[in-house]
């Protein structure tokens, strides 16, 4: 983003309020939690829809699906999609416009990821400065944004395989797009498990996402 001036960028550096700096700005916190709700609704209603015509040799237990039956699951899925899409678009727009993505997530280097992975596995990864992401975090957060885009686009391609047939074709046709959508869901669920586990292990990161510091 060559249009962002150094002065503007400086404004975006963590602000000092009192003696503590803001780690997560208010807009990030708000969009994060709305996204969390939307994602959970989409995943649970999506499992309900999956159960109507399973791609693999298993179904999701009804205790963790949303909607009660296929029709209910579809109603939830096609309602929560608006929440997910509108919220996601605001997040992407602000992430790019404020320079947050570039500042927080880039660059991602192979050496950095390998080094930080090794440090994490040997318990030597520092969490002292929560406003700076390590390379593993950068990779995962950037990756999950890409997966989020893929899951929305593949979902649209399944929803509108005639009107958006060019999009469906990009995902390899209708039947393949269903698998892409499923794999993207599985990636998000995998991310969620690690993400929630780490938030619990490092409670101050959870606090920062709630009250900002």
């Amino acid at each position: 983003m060559s249009t962002i001036t150094p002065a503007f960028e400086a404004q975006q550096e963590p602000q000092v309020v009192g003696s503590q700096k803001i780690i997560q700005p208010a807009w990030v916190r708000m969009l994060h939690w709305i996204n969390a709700v939307a994602m959970v609704l989409m995943i649970m209603s999506g499992w309900q829809i999956y159960n109507a015509s399973p791609l693999f040799d298993f179904v999701f237990p009804s205790s963790i699906t949303l909607g009660g039956w296929l029709g209910g699951g579809l109603l939830w899925h096609f309602a929560a999609m608006w929440l997910l899409m509108v919220n996601g678009l605001i997040y992407l727009t602000l992430g790019v416009a404020t320079g947050r993505f570039r500042r927080k997530l880039l660059p991602i280097t192979v050496d950095g990821v390998i080094g930080d992975t090794r440090a994490a596995l040997t318990g030597r990864l520092s969490h002292d400065d929560l406003s700076r992401y390590n390379y593993v975090q950068k990779l995962l957060y950037a990756g999950i944004i890409v997966v989020g885009i893929v899951i929305v686009l593949s979902g649209l391609s399944i929803w509108k395989p005639v009107q958006l047939q060019w999009l469906t074709a990009i995902f390899g046709g209708y039947d393949t797009a269903r698998y892409v959508h499923f794999v993207a869901m599985a990636s998000i669920v995998g991310f969620l498990i690690v993400h929630v586990a780490l938030a619990i292990l490092v409670p101050k990161s959870l606090r920062a996402m709630i009250i900002g510091r």
Binding site: V37, L41, A52, P54, Q165, Y174
Partner: protein, 259 residues
């Protein structure tokens, strides 16, 4: 008794599933709606609906579904054709879909069959099968997509519905063509979709007279809509401005359900 067009699920017991859907739906859906209550504030911001308690979640979802009808009508391009395929791509055997078994499907005698046309049309005569067979026919090899997610490619031959609507002098400014079937199944089709070039009164499957399993004597094939919006065993069409509901639509499937 109505019919369920598309409830064949590999690995799932059909009868059990239908029982679940039919019996447990109101109660279980309500409970799920309530567990999803946390999202309602957020959802209401998007739709402008006033959600005061979780019991109105069901109403909210219905409102969003109506909103989705409008969005889909907007997205619908009357000139966009559903992709067509080579004959070699046809799914064999093409699945039979219903909530009843094949031997419970309507068994219609072609000699007694009449297709009733009513509502906002100039010519309300009932059509015999022989008369319908005289109409010019075209073939399409398109993908049938079920609301459940699975899909199958089939070959359908018949008369474009828009030609028939013109023939009977239908008021194509009306909102819906409402179809009724031999066993009581119903489904409303919005007029822009009814006038789509690929929307077809189907008399043949894979070049053979439509077999009983696929809707003899007539099916309405709409490749721009989900399978349950493709009624089989069709006995009447009413051109109307009133939304008359449909078998699955009344249970909660999105009414437009466009592809």
């Amino acid at each position: 008794m109505g019919r369920i067009r598309s409830l064949l699920i590999p690995g799932v017991d059909k009868t059990l599933l239908v029982k679940d859907a039919a019996k447990l739906m109101p109660d279980l859906t309500r409970r799920r709606f309530i567990t999803g209550g946390a999202s309602l504030g957020a959802l209401s911001m998007l739709t402008g609906c006033d959600v005061v308690d979780s019991s109105s979640a069901e109403d909210l979802l219905k409102h969003v579904s109506k909103f989705n009808d409008a969005v889909q009508a907007l997205i619908f391009n009357p000139n966009t054709l559903a992709p067509t395929f080579a004959e070699s791509a046809i799914t064999k055997p093409f699945p039979f879909n219903a909530y009843y078994s094949e031997d419970e499907a309507p068994d219609i005698d072609g000699k007694d069959y009449r297709f009733e046309v009513s509502g906002l049309v100039e010519n309300k005569k009932a059509w015999t099968l022989d008369e319908l067979y005289q109409l010019p026919q075209v073939k399409q090899v398109t993908r049938h997509i079920c609301v459940e997610g699975w899909s199958a490619i089939g070959s359908w031959t018949g008369t474009p519905l828009r030609d028939f609507l013109k023939l009977v002098g239908a008021d194509t400014r009306a909102k819906y063509c409402w179809f009724r079937c031999a066993e009581g199944y119903t489904s409303p089709i919005d007029m822009p979709t009814a006038l789509h070039p690929q929307t077809q009164m189907t008399f043949k499957f894979a070049d053979e007279i439509l077999p009983r399993a696929y809707g003899y004597p007539m099916k309405i094939r709409i490749p721009t809509k989900l399978g349950f919006k493709n009624p089989k065993y069709v006995v009447s069409m009413e051109v109307t401005n009133d939304y008359k509901g449909g078998y699955w639509e009344d249970m909660g499937y999105n009414s437009f359900s466009g592809s």
